[in-house]
Point group: C2
Chain length 616, copies 2
Amino acid sequence: MKEVRIVFQPGEISVPVAAGTTIMEAMNRSGLGEDFPCGGRGKCGKCRVKVREGREDFTAIDEDHLTAQELAEGVRLACATKINRDMMIEIQSPKKLQHHILIDSAERPFHIHPHLVKVFAEIAQPSLSEHKSDWQRLQESLAGLGCSVHDLQAPLSVLRRLPDTLRESANRVTTVVYGSQVLGVEQGDTTGTLLGMAFDIGTTTIVGYLLDLNSGKELEVVSTLNPQAQYGGDVISRITFAGKEEKGLETLHQAVTGAMNKLIGEAVDKAGVNRNQLYGISVAANTTMHHLFLGITPRTIGMSPYVSAINQGLVVAPGELGLEINKAGRVFVLPNIAGFVGADTTAVLLAAELEKRDHVTLILDIGTNGEIVLGSKDRMVACSAAAGPAFEGAQITSGMRGADGAIDHISFDDGLSYTVIGNGRPIGICGSALLDGVAGFVELGMINKRGKFLEPEKLTHPGALKLKDRLIKYEETWAFQLVEAGQTRHGRPILITQNDIRELQLAKGAIAAGVRILQEAMGIVCDDIKEVLLAGAFGNYLNPHSACVIGLIPRELESRIKTIGNAAGNGAKIALLSAQEFSRAKDLAGGVSFVELGSYPGFNTIFAQNTYFKLD
Amino acid sequence: MKEVRIVFQPGEISVPVAAGTTIMEAMNRSGLGEDFPCGGRGKCGKCRVKVREGREDFTAIDEDHLTAQELAEGVRLACATKINRDMMIEIQSPKKLQHHILIDSAERPFHIHPHLVKVFAEIAQPSLSEHKSDWQRLQESLAGLGCSVHDLQAPLSVLRRLPDTLRESANRVTTVVYGSQVLGVEQGDTTGTLLGMAFDIGTTTIVGYLLDLNSGKELEVVSTLNPQAQYGGDVISRITFAGKEEKGLETLHQAVTGAMNKLIGEAVDKAGVNRNQLYGISVAANTTMHHLFLGITPRTIGMSPYVSAINQGLVVAPGELGLEINKAGRVFVLPNIAGFVGADTTAVLLAAELEKRDHVTLILDIGTNGEIVLGSKDRMVACSAAAGPAFEGAQITSGMRGADGAIDHISFDDGLSYTVIGNGRPIGICGSALLDGVAGFVELGMINKRGKFLEPEKLTHPGALKLKDRLIKYEETWAFQLVEAGQTRHGRPILITQNDIRELQLAKGAIAAGVRILQEAMGIVCDDIKEVLLAGAFGNYLNPHSACVIGLIPRELESRIKTIGNAAGNGAKIALLSAQEFSRAKDLAGGVSFVELGSYPGFNTIFAQNTYFKLD
C-alpha cells in the first residue's frame, strides 16, 4: 500500500497515511478533528479545509456545498477528499473549539449518604490459640466497630492482597465496604480520602464534577467535547456508525471512556489529588450515550419500535469499563426511562424532584432530541421529540455550535444588534441566535405564518422597513443577511435563509407537538401548567421570550419559565453523593409513563400545525 | 548467554537451553519431569538420570545419594546437574508414572439442588405501545414462569450480548440464573445441558468428576499428578517455592489451573460433550492447595501461628481463575477449617455427615499431613498431624509413590510374599507396603519397642528365623532385604532400612499422638470411639491390621475400621450437585474446633510415646 504524507497548517503537523485515506480520517488520527457534525457523510458541508499543495479535482459532494470561487481557491470538504499524493492542508478553524458549557447550578438540599464506606480498624494479631484466618480477623474487627454484615464477601483480588496488606501495615488497615462486599483493604488510615466524579455525558459535550464524597464539596469542574462527534454529530449517525463500521461500537465506547479518563486526569491534577483516590463515578446520559458508554449496541434504539437494551440502573466495576480510578470503586449508572428518554432525563427529574411537586410542571431539556416531562407528584408523562440539529446550529446555512465566534443573541429592539461568544468578529450563528432572529421576523411581520419571507416591498412594520436592504436573493428565495462578508472572520456573509427558517420550524414544531401531546395525555390545558423549567445548555442560553414568540413554548407560559442550569449534571452529582438518592432514581424512572410520539394518534397533524407561527 | 542442547532418551526429545540450566529444569520445561519428591532440593535422591554424552564431574549432592559404581556409569541427580555443554541423557523412568488413584466411592443419598438454574422462555416482542427494554421483557418473561427475583441483576458482559441474542434466536432463549444474577442468556432451549466438574486437588494428585448437574449422573472420572510436584513434593516445599521464587505463586497457581483445564478437556472428550456445557466447578483441597488454586499466598500457613488468609467458602467466576468452562458458570470453593485442616477435610465431613452421627466417630485422612477429626453431632474436634512423607514413600530408601512398579502389600503369613502394582518386577515400595513390612517385624519380634532391628542371632520367632538371611548390614546398621538386586526392574535391591523404620515411627507417632490428643480434648477413651473411617487413597490401600499392629490406629479399634473411599472427592461432588449441601459445608467447617498440636501441653511427650511399638 502506497504511503503518502499530509501536512496540516498552521502548526506543520505532518502525518503519514495510506494513499486513499480521507482528509477527515487523517485529521481524526492526528487529533485535529473533533467537529464533524454529520459524521463524515457529506451532508453538512462543515468540514472545509483549503488544499495548498497536492490539490486534485473536486468531487460532487464538494460541488454541492461549495461555491465555484471556493472550489477554485482549493477549498474542499475533508470528508469527501481522498489523499492520493503528498498534500499540504490549511485547516479553517485549527484551534479546537472552546465550547461554552453550562456549569452553574441551582442545587437542592439533600443528605450525603455514601455508596461506599471506609472503616479504619486495627486487626487482631493471629495467634496459636485462636488460629483465625486473616479474613476472619478482619471481619471480626469490622463487626467490633459496628460494621456487622452477615456473610461479608470479597473479590479474589482483595483476598489475594490481604495477607501482605495486613503485615505491611502492622494490621492497621482501612476497609472499603460496599453493601456486603469488601472492595478494598488499604494500608493505614485513609478514611479521610473518598473522592468521586459525576459525569453528564451529552451527545456534544461531556462534563465531569470532581466531588469529595465525605463532605459533598465540589472540587473541580472539567469538560470536553464528546470525541464521538468525529464519528457523527447526532445520536442517529452514531447508532449508524456503531452498527455499520467494523469495531464501530468499540470505537465509540472507547472514545467516551477515554475522554472520561482524560477529564479525571485533568480534574485530579487541578485539585492536587490523584485518580486512585476516586472511589465512585456516576453517569447521566441520554439512552444512546448510555449504551455506548457501557459498550452495549444502541442499534435497537435507532429502529422501530425504538427500545433500549436496558434501562435499569446499574453498578459496574470501573475496570469493566476501562475507567481508571481506584479498583475498589464503583460506577453508578442512572436508569433510563425509555428508548429516547434517557438517564439524563432521570437525572433532571432527580434534581428537580418533580415527583414531589404539588403543581403541574413542564420540564424541557432541548437539544437534538428534546426530552419533555410533564407532571407532578400524582403522575408524570414523558416523551422525546426529534427536534433535529437546528438548535445546535447544524444544517443551518451559517450555523455552528455555541462556541467561540458564534453569534448567540440577536436583538431588533433598537436597530439590529447581536452578541458574539468570545467577542471578535463572528463566524456563524448558534441555535439561540436563530431563535432570536426568527422571533424578530415574526414580530416585525417579515415572514408569514407558514414561515415564508414576505417580498421586501410588502413589508409594513417600521422596524422591518429599516431591515429591508438586508433581504437578499439566495438560492432563488429570500434570505436575511445578518452580517455582511466584510465583517466576518472568514469573509463570507452570515445569513438566515428561507431554508434555515424551515429547519427551525421543524425543530420547534416537534417540541411544541410533544408538549401538546403530553397535555392531552394528562388531560390538562396550558393554564394548568404552573411552572416551566428549562434544563441543559440550550435551555439556559435561549431567550424565553423568543422561544414563546416562535411557539417553541406556549406563549401563555412565558411568565412561568425558569432555568434550572445543568440539571442532568446536578442529578448525577446527587446520585453520586447519596446512595439513597441513586436508589430513588430507580423508582423515579419506573414511575414515568412514556408516550411514543410517532405512534400517537394524529401526531402528524399536531406536528404540522405546530410548525406554523402565530402572528399578532 | 550461551545456548546448549540437551537430548532426552528414549524418544530423542531435543531441547535448547541456556548453559547452566539444571537437567531438572530442562525436564520440567519439556514436559518430562513431574515427579521430584523433594522439589529439587537435593534431599531425596530420586531424580536419577544417566548422562550418555557430555558428562562432567559429579557434585557433592550426587555423591551423597549415588554409589561409586553408579557415579562411574554416569548416573547423576537431575536436580544437581547443570547443563554446560551439549548433552544426551537417559531418563530412568521415561514414561510418566501411572498412579493408582482411588475413584470408587460410597456415596450417601442427598437431594440435587443446583446452584445455577436454567430457564427457557419465549420473550415478548418489543412494541411501540409498550417500549420495554430487552432486559425488562426478559425479566417479565422469567417472572411469568415463576422465576421472580426482586432486583435481578446481570453483568455487563451479558447485557452487551442480550440484544443480539434475543434477535438471533427469535426471542427464544435460555437464561442461566444464579441467585439474583443472570449469568448468561443462550439462544434456544439449552435447559437439557447443565454439566459440572467436582475437583479434589491433592498435593500429589488431582481427580476430577464430570457430572450431569440435572441428573446427578457421573459421566467421567479423570485424574492426573499435580504438576506442582515438580516444584516440591510436599506443601511446605511448595509454600517455600511460592514465597521465594520470582513468580513462584503465579507458577504454582497456573500449574494447578492448567492441569484442571486439561482434565476438563480430557473428560469432555471422553464423554463426547464440550467444555462450554460446564456451568459449575467445585473444589476440595487442603489449605495450601486451596490458596495456591486461588492464587493467594500460602506463606502465613507455613509459619507460626499457621493461619490461612481465608477459610470462608467462596464462589468465583471461572474467568478470574483462568478456568475454561462456560462464562456463565461459577466455581464453588469449599471452606477450610483452619491453617492445616483444609477444605478437603470439610468435604470429607460433608460426605460422612459426621455432624449427624449419634455415636463418636474417628475420621482419618492420612497423607503427608494427616487430618484427624473426632466427634459426633454433639461436638467435633480436628487436628492436623505432620506425618511427613513416609506414608507416600518419600525419604524412604527404596520408597516410591503408589505407582506402577511399587510393592503395595507384603505378607509374612506363608513365607514372605508381596504384590506389585501393575505386576512385573518391582521398582520400590510404597507406604502401605512399608506399613505391612514393619508390622511383620513387630509381630515376628524382629525389632524392639524402640524400632531397632534385633541382631540376627537374637531372633526367636520361627517365622523370623526363616527371614534371618535377609537381614544385611547397611550404613553400619541392619536392613531388611525385601527383594534382591537381580529380581528388581533397575538391578538394585529393595530394602527396608533402620532409617526407614525411624521415618515410619515419626509418621505413625504423629498421627497416633493426634488421635490421642483429640480424645483428651473430647474427654473420652478409646472404647468410646464406635467407628473409625479411613478416607483418601492411603487410607483405602493400607491394611488395617498392619496399621493397628504398628500403633498408627489404636489396636482396640481394629474391628471398627471402615474405609470410605475418596470421601473428599465425594464431598466435592455433593457440594457441586447441591447448593444446600454447599451452604451446609460452610456451617460444618465453622462447627469444628481446631486443636493445634504443636502448642498442646505435653505434645512432645505424647508424640515420643507414640513413636514406640507395642510388642505382644
